[in-house]
């Protein structure tokens, strides 16, 4: 089996499993929705079918019993119960395990699967009708015309009288005869006596029937298999007449067929009786008379006509055959990455072209460069767009999470979503899943109160968690809000002081207090539960979001609820940057964080008495001199530039020599040797071919703060 097919199977099954989950949860709310139930059945059916096909027999066998239950439900013989849904959800997880763990080739947890299967069998046991006797003709488990050598040659007589409607099932009877021909020596006689008079003749009906003699070593079942598709609608006789004839090896089939074709007598007599007459033991060797009867015969032309017609049909088929373009195709994500990467290179080269063209002031070149630029940008947009996926697929996963978690904790929680169609880069989406899980877990565990507590404070018993996604500029905002207890700032602060995260005298803003929950080792849960309270989680969330070049913020009102907002870039492949220069080197600052640029003269520095602060319209903004940070020794210009960036509601400046302008760049990683370098998130190649480092503003600030503290 070819690998890409197997991958297609795994991908498809994974998709079906998530569809199964979503549908199950929907069925829980609408247990009689036949459409949903049909969908469930279909998903299970396809999983079973393709698993068996691709050699994942365990999954196929496991799914079979579940499918049986849903077949009963589908036919109205069994009702959907909570128990069935629970079991199916468990089964779904088990299939996912089987698929993930050992590539499905061995059982993940035999105990579990066994239990699930037994429960399903118990459920269906009362309803299931007796297993239908399996049709022996059904299974084509061996190739049709497989020869099973027998020691002796046998002679079979076949009479095949197809139903009149044979052609309407797309069957070509001559094909069946050709198939037989491959099994041994053949003599065929077609009977045309049933063909009606012209005025009654229906060209769509089959009036012919056939007598066939075959000398072969294959078994009678193999011959029967040839007629497998027509046997129930046709009259079919297959008899072994070896004994009646005696020495069958003496029959000259070439001569026999010639005689039949030339002799009109044959189409009124059974081939069986004729062969008996000429080849029965007493008359062995009397084949000569057949050759003499060269009478007129209308069968052969008819046969020819059929053949010719069939050939013509095939020819036109071939002529019209064209390659088809599929409406949508599945593509390996790696290929798309490669495409985006190449488009990235193209953007760089195009920038070089534009730069050179304008430098040389060559009008023709400039026009071409502009065209190339236009196409490159379009290509880039399309390339990036291919990677975009709607966030809804991730959202739907959380329904299950919320359901299971709220049950486990004895809470009642309803999850609502908004903006499921918002699109995000595939990589971002994949990496977003875990942080979202953490946040939702926290919402339910810490945020939403127990139902009776909620009632006491006058809230609805059922807590609400709302997920929203919306696009804003080059970013996607994802909000998770709950109407639970909210965050108690006092408790957070006390806990932080207790853990030594802040000093007792520290004056903290709300934002700063909330940001404490993202610090490692912080948990206010009174009790460590399965769900949360180990103090891992929110710091992991923050790191994951930052790795995606995003930010996460918390807002909360005590008693009313909490809202966590994540701001993420649409894509990781390209960033809008501000190109700056320090000495001879170029750097890129992410434009999304940049607020403004101002000048910094020697006089300004003197005014601040050497401290790294600058006055921006009355407010004091600290700055980091990148020249000092990076140890650049070239001569400092008289007037420098300060790029003011915003981070955590604070402004901070970065001093550079020169601001060159906006620059959209393709992000390239620095490779494994430099991946731990702090303050640099990647690199890009500029139009003139030089490399510019992309600065990680956040890390630079953190580093500076750390050094200041020490």
């Amino acid at each position: 089996m070819n690998d890409s097919l197997q991958n297609a199977y795994i991908e498809e099954t994974t998709e079906l499993l998530s569809e199964l989950e979503i549908t199950l949860l929907a069925v829980e709310d609408a247990p009689t929705d036949t459409e949903l139930i049909a969908k469930l059945f279909r998903a299970l059916h396809t999983i079973k079918g393709s698993s068996a096909m691709f050699g994942f027999d365990d999954i196929a066998m496991f799914t079979h019993d579940i499918e049986t239950a849903y077949d009963l439900i589908r036919n109205g013989k069994l009702l959907v119960t909570k128990q069935i849904i629970d079991l199916t959800l468990l089964a779904r997880d088990e299939i996912a395990n089987m698929l993930a763990k050992t590539g499905g080739k061995s059982r993940s947890n035999e105990g579990n699967t066994k239990k699930i299967i037994e429960s399903f069998r118990e459920i269906v046991s009362g309803y299931q009708t007796a297993e239908k006797p399996s049709d022996t003709n059904v299974s084509i488990s061996k190739p049709i015309s497989e020869k099973q050598p027998d020691t002796a040659w046998q002679l079979y007589y076949i009479r095949f009288v197809p139903s009149k409607d044979l052609f309407l099932t797309g069957t070509n009877p001559l094909m069946l005869i050709d198939e037989l021909r491959e099994m041994g020596d053949l003599a065929v006689s077609a009977f045309v006596d049933k063909i009606p008079a012209f005025e009654n003749f229906n060209p769509e009906s089959c009036y012919c029937y056939w007598d066939i003699l075959i000398r072969t070593q294959v078994k009678i079942d193999t011959i029967r298999d040839v007629f497998i598709f027509v046997s129930d609608s046709s009259e079919l006789t297959i008899e072994n007449i070896t004994k009646e004839i005696g020495n069958v090896s003496e029959i000259d089939f070439v001569k026999l067929q010639e005689s039949i074709s030339a002799d009109s007598n044959f189409h009124t007599h059974s081939l069986r009786s004729l062969i008996k007459t000429y080849y029965s033991p007493s008359l062995a060797g009397v084949s000569e008379p057949l050759n003499d009867r060269n009478l007129l015969n209308e069968r052969t032309p008819l046969n020819d006509r059929l053949h010719t017609a069939a050939k013509q049909n095939q020819q036109t088929a071939a002529e019209h055959a064209e390659a088809d373009s599929q409406a949508s195709i599945r593509v390996n994500a790696g290929k798309i990455d490669e495409l985006v990467n190449l488009v990235g290179e193209l953007v760089t080269i195009q920038a070089q072209l534009s730069e050179n063209a304008s430098r040389q002031e060559d009008q023709v070149m400039i026009t071409i460069a502009e065209e190339v630029e236009r196409i490159t940008w379009a290509l880039r947009d399309i390339g990036l767009n291919i990677r975009m996926l709607p966030i809804g697929t991730t959202f739907s996963k959380f329904k299950r999470l919320v359901r299971d978690l709220s049950r486990e904790l004895g809470k009642e929680v309803e999850l609502t979503t908004d903006g499921a169609e918002t699109e995000l880069d595939k990589t971002v989406l994949e990496k977003l899943s875990d942080p979202l899980v953490h946040i939702i877990r926290n919402c339910i565990d810490h945020g939403i109160e127990m139902p009776d507590v909620r009632e006491k404070v006058g809230k609805d018993r059922v807590g609400k968690v709302h997920l929203t996604a919306l696009q804003s500029g080059g970013n996607v905002l994802i909000q998770i809000s709950d109407n639970g207890a909210g965050i108690d700032k006092q408790i957070i602060k006390e806990k932080a002081i207790q853990n030594g995260l802040v000093s007792e005298s520290a004056e903290l803003t709300d934002a700063e207090i909330y940001s404490l929950i993202f610090m490692s080792g912080f948990s206010t849960a009174k009790q460590v539960t399965n769900v949360s309270g180990r103090g891992v989680g929110m710091d992991v969330v923050k790191r994951a979001i930052e790795a995606l070049r995003g930010v996460v913020e918390v807002e909360s009102t005590l008693g009313k609820g909490t809202t966590i907002t994540m701001k993420l870039p649409l894509t990781l492949a390209i960033i809008d940057g501000l190109l700056v220069k320090i000495g001879d080197d170029s750097y890129v600052l992410p434009l999304s964080s940049v607020e403004e640029c101002i000048e910094l003269s020697r006089a300004d520095i003197q005014k601040a008495h050497g401290r790294h602060i600058v006055n921006v319209r009355g407010s004091i903004v600290p700055y980091i001199s990148l020249r000092e940070r990076f140890g650049i020794t070239s001569e400092r210009p008289d007037i420098e530039q300060v790029v003011i960036a915003a981070m955590n509601e604070r402004s901070i400046g970065f001093v550079v020599d020169q601001v060159l302008g906006q620059h959209q760049t393709v992000l390239k990683s620095l490779g494994k040797y430099y991946k731990n370098v702090e303050g640099v998130s990647g690199a890009t190649i500029l139009g003139d071919g030089t490399v510019a480092l992309i600065l990680d503003i956040k890390k630079l600030i953190e580093r500076e703060e750390l050094e200041e503290k020490n």
Binding site: S50, A52, I140, L168, M175, A317, A318, A321, E322
Partner: protein
């Protein structure tokens, strides 16, 4: 010119497996994901064979077979249905609707080729 076969299945992996196998032995293959999709693609080529799954969203295989048989262009074209052993009833329904034959899932590539060769030659 190779003969063209259409494979209709909502399971992309099965469809691809069928397509891959048949292309490997020299057929042209056009894929469709369900009955509705199949009907929209039916004029794209002159098909020598149509292989369809039975259980599909939007339009199931039996309905598709009936629709195809009502189309003068497809009236005499062989149609194979993909069934599982448990689907004897639908197999019968398919035959009555005008299917030429069936292939039982799961099948191996060589079994598929054998059945296809049987009906298209």
């Amino acid at each position: 010119m190779p003969k063209t076969i259409m494979t209709v299945d909502d399971s992309a992996s099965v469809r691809q497996m069928v397509a891959y196998t048949l292309r490997d032995v020299g057929f042209d293959v056009i894929e469709a994901c369900d009955g509705v999709d199949a009907l929209t693609k039916i004029d794209k080529a002159v098909f020598s064979l149509i292989i369809t799954d039975l259980n599909m969203p939007r339009m199931d295989g039996i309905t598709l077979i009936k629709e195809l048989r009502a189309n003068p262009k497809i009236k005499f074209t062989p149609i194979l249905m993909l069934t599982t052993e448990s689907q004897n009833e639908s197999k019968l329904a398919g035959k009555n609707a005008g299917a030429t034959g069936w292939i039982v899932k799961p099948f191996k590539p060589e079994q598929l080729v054998a059945v296809v060769k049987k009906v298209v030659g």
